[in-house]
């Protein structure tokens, strides 16, 4: 048996593809992570209020999601409801995170791949060639990244590992000046996004995406507020194709899936083996209402061949940035934002178990902490988006590698192509190697 290993390029973090070959046949292909940091272990015994700050350091791209999921978990332990004002601030910080994360992904990962896949360019871009390829696009995407950064700075105190997020709410009562500034940023984002979305439609809507990016049978999982697009509150929903769905509250998650601490991967308790997908594509399958008229119109430009193809995620990410810039403006106009209030006091522990759920940019994120009788954290379980997607990714890359290798016998081509599939999922390896 021969093992071919290749380090993933242009993904966030350290990942490897391991291809097993036997008698000129591909046996299996796996996306693997070589490093495991063990946050679930070393957070045991830590001061509860210290955990959100530490846990932010799991990921430099999903920092706000990780910290907010952690705060929600602690609030569940104290049985505290967070006020409207604080929820609005959290939503703003999440939107800024999403805009930054999606636009960086679009520029450095998606764009070069789309150009190759659709034969718009045959070469591999160096970073320098990439910024020179379409200067107006570079500037526009950098403006979007800045929107994310600046709003995180204004309301979070720092652009990464936000300082203002604490159990009970968000420190800071925004000044008038920062609200005006933030409004300008979101308005600018909307203009840029309209332009990029229209470009994307022009270039790709009439094309048929290659079938190796088609998704095999899967079940979508996402947070939704009665079918509305909502990444902060709601309940979890499973949906298979266009059929019925199962909706459940966070405290019942263990009916459907679970995870051995210190082992990677999530086990689903379905009758048959089925792959689950989370993230923008899954949100697209589950959300029934975006609350913005333009969205269904934009979606209609694309024919059926796109709607079951993972490359469509690239378009969904653009739409999500649009939706959240729009929602950001609504939040800034909400009178509850300006209420100056003290954060609630968290002094008596009500539950020994706490669960916090959120939709991170890359999908469902669940934190589950357990306390022992002396109120010490003795068990921490983190369910991370990329872990949910892992079996689907491995299935797709294995099938495609088998077919491509049989057809061409070219292992380098296999390595190159399966990395494109992996990148289309935008895995967050930092999070997955918590």
């Amino acid at each position: 048996m021969l093992k071919v290993v290749d380090v993933c390029k242009r993904v966030e973090g350290h990942g490897e593809v391991r291809i097993l070959l036997q008698n000129d046949e591909v046996l299996s292909v796996n996306l693997e992570f070589e490093i495991y940091r063990g946050f679930e272990n070393f957070l045991i015994g830590k001061n509860l209020f210290d955990i959100p700050k530490i846990i932010s350091r799991i990921c430099g791209l999903c920092y706000a999601s990780q910290t907010i999921a952690s705060c929600k978990t602690i609030e569940d332990i104290y049985n505290i409801e967070v006020s409207e004002h604080n929820i609005l601030l959290r939503r703003l910080l999440m939107s800024a995170e999403l805009i930054k994360s999606h636009s960086m992904n679009f520029f450095f990962q998606t764009l070069p791949d789309l150009l190759t896949i659709f034969n718009l360019s045959q070469k591999t871009f160096s970073p320098y060639e990439l910024i020179k390829y379409y200067p107006q696009l570079t500037t526009s995407l950098y403006d979007l990244i800045k929107v994310g950064n600046e709003i995180n700075e204004l309301f979070g105190g720092r652009s990464v590992h936000l300082i203002s997020l604490v159990p009970g709410g968000v420190i800071y009562s925004p000044s008038r000046k920062s609200i005006t500034l933030a409004r300008k940023y979101f308005q600018k984002a909307l203009v840029i996004l309209e332009w990029i979305i229209e470009k994307f439609i022009q270039l790709f809507a009439n094309q048929t995406p290659p079938k190796e990016f088609d998704l095999p049978k899967f079940i979508s999982l996402a947070l939704t507020n009665y079918g509305n697009y909502d990444r902060y509150s709601g309940s979890l929903r499973f949906k298979e194709n266009n059929k019925n769905f199962i909706e459940f509250e966070k405290q019942n998650y263990s009916t459907y899936f679970g995870k051995e601490i210190n082992l990677r991967g999530i086990d689903f308790y379905f009758e048959n083996e089925k792959n689950v997908i989370v993230g923008p594509f899954s949100r697209f399958n589950i959300v029934e209402n975006y609350g913005i008229d333009e969205i269904p119109t934009y979606l209609d430009y694309f024919n059926k061949s796109w709607k079951n193809n993972i490359l469509f995620t690239n378009f969904i990410r653009l739409l999500e940035m649009y939706i959240e810039s729009y929602q950001g403006l609504q939040i800034l106009d909400n009178p509850s934002l300006n209420i100056r209030e003290k954060l609630p006091s968290l002094n008596s522990i009500k539950n020994l178990d706490g669960i916090g759920v959120i939709e991170a940019p890359r999908g469902v994120l669940i934190h589950h902490y357990h306390l022992n009788k002396s109120n010490y954290v003795d068990r921490i379980n983190l369910f991370i988006a990329t872990e949910f997607n892992l079996s689907l990714i491995n299935d797709m890359i294995t099938k495609y590698a088998q077919e491509l290798f049989e057809r061409t016998g070219d292992i380098n081509l296999v390595k190159k192509k399966i990395q494109m599939i992996i990148r289309a999922f935008d895995p967050c390896i930092s999070c997955a190697t918590h």
Partner: protein
């Protein structure tokens, strides 16, 4: 000729590199340099000769030592990017993993500290490197320019019982005129390098020391400081302070 750069991450959250990539000046950085190896955004496969290598993350695996030494051999200068690379970083909290700074294995030509490094400092430092200049860091501690200091005095008699204020006690900088240490809350400002513009303090939270020490070894600084003040027993036993961003140097 454009200076050639290598950018790699070891064990990290990728927050330092993604901060760099998100800076306004990043497209300009790409224009003014030649990227030799930068797996995050480039398909280039080989580590080759370069003027400057920026390394994010701590050393936690044997294989990284080999990689790091290879980078050192190919780079004229190596800089540690962020607190993980400079001092070990957040993984120092782990009992089972090692989390070592680059300098335990290779000679380092300079550091850009912070978790992540503050944007201004980061941007300026990177531009200086592109221009073949040295990085300059403040030699002062956080207290020197602290926005809530009225008088430079630490009252060592006060019993320090908390590492964070309770949420309801948090008050913003402008309403907050008293040093955290006077209120019994541990702030690592006295031993932490200035340069972040007092980000946490302005938010009403004490400094957790992410910029690292002004001088000497990280943990010995923390231990010296903590031995000067009255720390409650609970805090004395709490590893979340001593090993927040660094472990004492170990022999391997």
């Amino acid at each position: 000729m454009k200076p050639r750069f290598i950018l790699i991450s070891l064990t990290s959250c990728t927050g330092c590199i993604s901060t760099l990539m998100s800076l306004d000046i990043f497209p300009q950085f790409l224009e003014r340099t030649r990227i030799i190896y930068f797996p995050f955004i480039s398909d280039a496969k080989d580590i080759k000769e370069c003027e400057i290598a920026l390394v994010e993350g701590c050393v936690s695996e044997e294989t990284q030592i080999i990689l790091l030494r290879k980078v050192r051999r190919h780079a004229k200068k190596v800089f540690a990017l962020g607190t993980c690379a400079c001092f070990g970083g957040i993984l120092s909290l782990s009992n089972s993993k090692i989390a070592e700074p680059l300098s335990n294995y290779i000679e380092v030509d300079g550091i850009i500290p912070g978790c992540p490094p503050p944007s201004k400092l980061f941007g300026n430092s990177v531009i200086r490197l592109v221009e073949n200049k040295d990085i300059t860091l403040s030699e002062k501690n956080m207290c020197a320019n602290c926005p809530i200091w009225e008088k430079m005095e630490i009252n060592f008699q006060i019993n320090i019982t908390k590492i964070n204020p309770n949420p309801e006690e948090i008050s913003l900088n402008e309403e907050n005129s008293e040093c955290f240490l006077k209120k019994g809350i541990l702030c690592l400002g006295p031993i932490t390098r200035d340069g972040c513009e007092h980000k946490c303090i302005k938010m009403g939270l004490p400094c957790e020391g992410c910029m690292g020490p002004v001088s000497k070894d990280f943990t010995s600084n923390v231990i010296n400081f903590l031995s000067l003040i009255e720390l409650s027993q609970e805090l004395k036993d709490y590893t979340g302070i001593f090993y927040r961003f660094s472990k004492p140097k170990m022999k391997r």
